[in-house]
Symmetry: C2
Subunit: 323 residues, 2 copies
DNA sequence: CTTGATCGTGAAATCGATTTCTGACAAGGT
DNA sequence: ACCTTGTCAGAAATCGATTTCACGATCAAG
């Protein structure tokens, strides 16, 4: 890797002048030209490492997500990328695999690598953002707003989404509507279940046996569905609180020959393969990409010095009745 | 952010000693203890930026992929991550969105940020790895081996996979087997088609009208399937060369009420939702995760100084006849 | 008791860019 | 002719870690 000194020597100027050429300061046209030629000849690229050390900040933002294999988060990542790239920032994706230690390690990396900011989708439990806050590193939470700390957040109204989905099942005439949601210690899970409860109680008393806490993954959805079908009076419809669990639930229903429309189903989150097979399911679309673009815009504002009090932005879900 | 100097001052030692404590050199127990206490009290984290500048390398590897929303690449990323993390490296994901300029920009970042190495899955056309090679930055290509440059590569045998998939259709008794593959300028696409041709010619002469070049995306698969069905003598089976295109093809078949088993289908690549619906499809599994772990291991070897001539490792696909 | 090997430590150089400081020089106003 | 104002460019400091070098102290071998 050629350095700024070698370019300076080749062009017959000082390193300061080379730096000025690359950063748009006043340099005479002849020297600027000489520098550019020398830089090209040597295939010079300024060291980001040195630049970052000197400036104490870089044009890189960290996006910390819990599961890179979940389409929701990759769509969100695309949104973040679009906005960040347009503003000249690079995005590095950090996959925590739902693990708090890993998450902490990545936040540490973001700090010690002088990254410009962090967008974090913390999956389960509470995340420790105190280090970032203490060091005044810009942070935006996305998908769920963390407990205790006061940071910008971009979320969807999980309760309203759960309510709308369940309401659709009520309107389709189903009588015994169950709910499969995520872990009871994850707020997005309980909020979606609250929405289910809202819509069900409006129609009739809630039977809490119809509420199952699973793990937001396909296997958990399958297990919960099996339990529900084993009840003395099995439900005739189910609201499933995320996309992956619905895959498991559908598999079990298929084994019992009870696929929709025999059983009513509403799902929170997108099912990319749904148009493929003619199964009538009500879907509450998550505006994943939009979540990402909004979070990125907020972060960029913070990076450029905005220091108004923290904001929370709630996006709307869009309901697609049945397909 | 506290620095090593502040820790040194607080502990009553020199910065050199603080560095030695954190890097396992010889330091007396008392001073080491004092340093550790001071570091803890100040919540000191060594600056990776400064460290990287001094050492001219960091424990970060770049994984450059063309489409973060494709499950194949995210599974591959998980494989890379698993191995890298175990070896103490962080992985940053760079999504090129199939764009050559973006790809080049990311490779540039990897170099100028002194990353330890690069794993690249270049989607279309040829990628310019010359910068990395010239700077002796360790590189491993994955999924396809780039033209012209001689680097380590981990690939699957596309031709053999295509042949096996088509062969399965032949054995199921289908007579007119078509092929929908990717763009004709992408090697993985033509190789899979070659496999199809191998298996078909073994049985009877190839009808080239049954070969369609599409775009590796769902829409292209749908369009190609429509064209095939519009032929005077439509095929009774089809080999589809990637997962996303099969989604489109299935949609069209569904509209014509010709879903498998009415039409034979074999697909190159995993279909996560397949267990869900009882459609009999032959699947050639891509060992995506294994591809990632293997590439990461090769890269780590290179990083630790292995400089034997470049290797190419071809993994096997696994065939699942019908489900 | 000497020689020399080893250990612990701090001072200072180093990585490669940016930026302040300073000086040289030219143009313009009185 | 003199002062002001401005532009251009180099020398040197700076960011925060690592590491070489040098030096004193300790300890074992002869």
């Amino acid at each position: 890797m050629p350095t700024i000194y070698e370019v300076a020597a080749a062009a017959g100027v000082s390193p300061a002048t080379v730096s000025r050429v690359f950063n748009g300061a006043n340099v005479s046209p002849e020297k600027a030209e000489a520098v550019r030629k020398a830089a090209k000849a040597l295939a010079f690229t300024p060291s980001r490492t040195a630049r970052t050390l000197r400036l104490q900040s870089s044009e890189v933002i960290a996006l910390v997500i819990p599961d890179i294999e979940n389409p929701f988060f990759t769509a969100l990542a695309r949104g973040v990328e679009d906005v960040a790239r347009a503003a000249g920032y690079s995005v590095v994706l950090c996959n925590t695999d739902e693990d708090h230690d890993t998450e902490l390690r990545y936040l540490d990396v973001a700090l010690s690598a002088n990254m410009a900011g962090v967008i974090i989708a913390a999956a389960g439990g509470n995340s420790d953002l105190s280090g970032l806050i203490a060091r005044k590193c810009p942070v935006v939470a996305v998908d769920r707003s963390p407990h205790g700390v006061d940071v910008d957040a971009v979320i969807v109204d999980h309760r309203a989404g759960g309510r709308a989905a369940t309401q659709a099942l009520v309107e389709q005439g189903f009588q015994r509507i169950a709910c499969i949601t995520g872990p009871s210690d994850v707020e997005t899970a309980t909020q979606r279940a609250d929405g289910w409860r809202d819509a069900v109680t409006a129609a009739r008393p809630v039977d809490e046996r119809y509420l199952r806490y699973a793990d937001f993954r396909a296997e958990g959805g399958a297990a919960a569905m099996s339990e529900l079908l084993a009840l003395p009076e099995p439900p005739d419809a189910v609201f499933v609180a995320n996309d992956l669990m619905s895959v498991g639930a559908l598999r079990v229903l298929s084994e019992h020959s009870k696929l929709p429309p025999a059983t009513g189903m509403a799902v929170f989150g997108d099912l990319p393969f749904l148009p493929l097979v003619p199964i009538p399911i009500t879907v509450v679309h998550m505006p994943a990409r939009h979540l990402g673009t909004t979070a990125a815009k907020l972060l960029l504002e913070r990076i450029t010095g905005d220091d108004q009090p923290a904001r929370t932005i709630a996006l709307r879900n869009q309901l697609t009745p049945v397909n």
